[in-house]
């Protein structure tokens, strides 16, 4: 199981500023290990963001996304105390879901 995401969600007016860092190698299938063997693909392919119980953002990602991906989003109409749930799934079918609460 991958390490937890770090999620920060703070309110500016009625807009929630959401930042998330995912712990993931995002191997692009082009790097080689010390023995010269290609390190296989291992990367996040799909991301879902829910705020206050509503799916607000769905994303798909490829191997051009950096290791330990960081994403930032803005969601209008959010309130302090609303729950933010973020989930990812990678090309091996591994998933991780974490949540945070929007702070004022």
């Amino acid at each position: 199981m991958a390490d937890p995401m770090k999620i920060r969600a703070s309110l500016k007016g009625d807009v929630a500023d959401i930042r998330v860092m995912m712990s993931h190698p995002m191997e692009n299938g082009q790097r080689k290990d010390s023995a010269g063997n290609t390190i296989p693909h291992h990367f996040i392919q799909q991301i879902w963001v829910e705020v206050g119980g509503k799916m607000v953002i769905q994303g798909q990602t490829g191997t051009s996304i950096s290791r330990n991906p960081v994403f930032g989003f803005k969601v209008k109409g959010a309130k302090a105390g609303d729950k933010v749930v973020i989930k990812w799934r990678d090309n091996k079918g591994e998933t991780r879901s974490d949540e945070a609460t929007i702070t004022a």
Partner: protein, 158 residues
Amino acid sequence: MDMFRRSLLKGVSASGALAAALAAGILKPTEVLAADEWNRAAFDSKDAGAALKAIGASSATDSKDIVLTAPEIAENGAVVPITVLSNIPNTISIALLSLKNPLPLAAAFDFSEGAMPEMQVRVRLAETTAVRALVKTADGKFFATQKEVKVTVGGCGG
């Protein structure tokens, strides 16, 4: 049931521009970029033209209403912060490509239910390249802008 797979983009609870478009029958739920299965054809495309075709964006209108923020010079191609903000009304999806990467399509995101059409990401750039942001609106049109990023040390190999 996995709540995350029960995509509202396929369902009945969509709102705003997207719901209006769905209701009007001008937008099939599958026409947003990121709602369904991972788009293997697009992400496995080795050139930007093929990737754009695979997301249905063979033609796009250049637009100054897309704000693409990226460094002019990226010393470390492994981590290049990029922000895309669309000021185009009824934006439902944003995609980002690095044109000279081995696999150009970096990300595609759909926005609904109050999500503002803006995304911050960090990408790898293999070499000096143009990065291109694509915006899809609820009526199925694509708009684009791009910016050159000079890369000192490429971020893909090693």
